[in-house]
């Protein structure tokens, strides 16, 4: 008797739990899962200029393989991803060490350090657009005062990607630094004491002890940044829209323009699914790496 009562309350509880998750699950299925399935279907369709759609089989994906602009976009996406990630991880770890050695970090200092990545990327883009203006910007003035040659920054096909990487790194290096700082603070102090007793130099201590212990945290930061960097959009769209020419036409920008400027929804769907596969592939790869460096 009491047994059935117990299972009854347990069943009731399971039902109540399902009811609590239901709104979030239904919302996510409706807004994400169903639309993604729809995108997969759209990827097999072509739309004529009159808006009539017809089944196209793999035509969109075959087009992808022979589309010069796709390969260019892929190259730009990877270049921007690698450049930004390296900059942010190197400077992020450096900044974390500096912050760690400062010990006390007043709230106001912390607020200043998080301000770049709490500000809308669009605003960061507007701000740097003015600072990096080739003829009147403050950046070139500083370069010239130091006797260095000015740059065309975002207006130069050669320099636009490094410049965008620089803007994004200005925004997100403090974020990486704060993650790594969290990792530093959770390291057991005993390992340092042991190293000090052994008379290891600060550099050796960092190279042999701190860095290996920090690797899992650094890989976590790399995952979080990769996800954003591979689908880079805001700063480029607000500053160059993929230009000059197509010099900053990342896959996400290209897919957006194919979809919403040329209204080729079918081909844009194929492009976006490919990009999504790349992002998930990168996350899986980094996850394995994190498993390999865990301690």
């Amino acid at each position: 008797m009491s047994d059935t009562a117990a299972t009854l309350t347990q069943d009731r509880q399971k039902l109540e739990m399902a009811a609590l998750s239901a709104p979030a699950v239904i919302f996510t299925v409706g807004m994400i899962a169903f639309p993604v399935v729809y995108t997969i279907w759209l990827g097999f369709q072509t739309f004529s200029s009159t808006g009539k759609q017809s089944f196209a089989g793999l035509a969109n994906y075959l087009k992808l393989i022979s589309d010069v602009e796709f390969w260019h976009g892929l190259w730009i996406t990877i270049a921007l991803f690698v450049l930004s990630l390296v900059l942010q991880l190197v400077f992020g770890v450096w900044l974390a060490l500096v912050l760690f050695n400062a010990k006390r970090l007043p709230g106001i200092v912390r607020s200043l350090f998080i301000s770049p990545f709490m500000m809308p990327p669009v605003v960061a883009g507007m701000m740097w657009l003015v600072i990096l203006d080739p003829s009147l910007g403050a950046a070139n003035y500083i370069l010239q005062s130091l006797g260095l040659p000015p740059s065309d920054w975002l207006a130069s096909p050669t320099w636009v990607i490094p410049t965008v990487a620089l803007i994004d790194s200005w925004q997100w290096t403090p974020y990486v630094a704060l993650i790594v700082l969290g990792g530093l603070q959770s390291l057991p102090p005993s390992v340092y004491e042991a190293a000090q007793i052994d008379g290891a130099s600060p550099f050796k201590t960092f190279q042999r002890i701190t860095l290996p212990l920090l690797l899992p945290t650094i890989v976590t930061a790399a995952i979080l940044r990769s996800v954003d960097l591979l689908r880079f959009f805001d700063i480029i769209y607000i500053t160059t829209q993929g230009g000059p020419g197509n010099a900053s036409n990342t896959l996400n920008i290209y897919g957006f323009r194919v979809g919403f400027e040329f209204f080729n929804i079918g081909y844009a769907s194929a492009l976006m699914l490919t990009l999504t596969a790349i992002v998930f592939g990168a996350v899986l790869a980094f996850n394995r790496l994190r498993g390999a460096v865990a301690w």
Binding site: M17, L20, S21, P23, A24, V25, F27, T28, M31, I32, A33, V36, Y38, T39, V98, A102, G107, S111, L112, F113, S115, M118, M119, P120, P121, V122, V123, M126, M127, L129, V130, S135, A138, Y141, W170, P174, L178, I179, L181, G182, T217, T220, L224, V227, L230, R231, F233, D234, Y237, I238, N252, G255, F256, G259, F260, M272, L273, L275, V279, V283
Partner: protein
């Protein structure tokens, strides 16, 4: 001994120097943006750039007079508050259920939005919302931005719910409390600060989000971020107004983030790092 103390002082001095250097690099662009927004229009584009000037509000006045800045701001507020409320409404019970049952797939499902490029959803949304005539509606914008806020709420709240001792719930269950009652009466007050942090983070990221409003809004419902594009177009030489717009758009997230800075990092990594 004296030598060691000297090296110590040197190292500390070097560290402070690096800290100041990093601070200047981080702060200078933002300071420059704010300064430029208060410059008289002829001085904003002065070359060499000027550091000393008599501050004026003319750029801000021009902004409100020549653009519908305030109605854009109102649109941003409606979409941001709406999507944050929706995220909390769906996210709080889901986070509680995931924490209690340890069945994590609903939480992981919502993470998909954090990983896939926004355009992936935007293409089908555009087709679907157009079919039912919802392009340009606040509803479409709020729903799309809730895709951003929901995972933030769930993943920020999960560790908070996990932190409540099980015995608290078990005692309430013995007293005959239903699960729903336990959530609203017992658990929620215990994670109130977590709810506040998740709400602020959700607000910030919804406010900052660019892509969806670019396509799903129209002239009447355009958010500030989506309208930023117009400011650049109109103000290619009006840097003062452009910087005034940038300053005002950045103000709400920066002020809110400063309020909860202590808890931000663990929240931002979706629980991956305990800050």
């Amino acid at each position: 001994m004296n030598d060691a103390a000297n090296t110590d002082r040197w190292i500390r001095w070097l560290n402070t120097l690096q800290l100041v250097l990093a601070g200047v690099v981080i702060m200078a662009p933002t300071v420059w943006m704010v300064l430029s927004s208060f410059k008289p229009s002829f001085e904003v584009t002065a070359y060499p750039p000027t550091m000393i000037f008599s501050p004026t509000l003319e750029n801000y006045v021009a902004l409100t007079k020549t653009t519908p800045f305030l109605s854009y701001a109102l649109n941003s507020l409606i979409v941001t508050v709406g999507s944050t409320a929706l995220g909390l409404l769906f996210g709080i019970p889901a986070a509680f259920a995931v924490s209690w049952t340890r069945i994590s797939w609903p939480a992981i499902l919502t993470l998909a939005a954090r990983m896939a490029p926004g355009t992936l959803f935007l293409l089908p949304w555009y087709v679907m919302f157009r079919q039912i005539g919802m392009i340009g509606s606040y509803t479409a914008l709020i729903l799309s931005h809730a895709v951003i806020t929901l995972p933030i709420v769930i993943w920020v709240l999960l560790p908070s719910f996990d932190g409540i001792p099980r015995s608290v719930f078990e005692a309430a269950q013995v007293d005959g409390c239903s699960v729903t009652r336990i959530l609203w009466r017992i658990a929620l007050p215990l994670v109130a600060s977590g709810v506040a942090v998740s709400a602020i983070l959700a607000f910030v990221f919804s406010w900052n989000y660019f892509l969806f409003a670019l396509v799903l809004s129209n002239g009447d419902t355009k958010t500030l971020i989506a309208a930023a594009f117009n400011f650049i177009g109109e103000g290619s030489t009006q840097w003062g107004a452009l910087m005034a717009a940038a300053t005002l758009i950045a103000l709400p997230p920066l002020v809110l983030a400063a309020l909860v800075q202590r808890w931000l990092v663990s929240g931002l990594t979706l629980g991956a790092v305990k800050g």
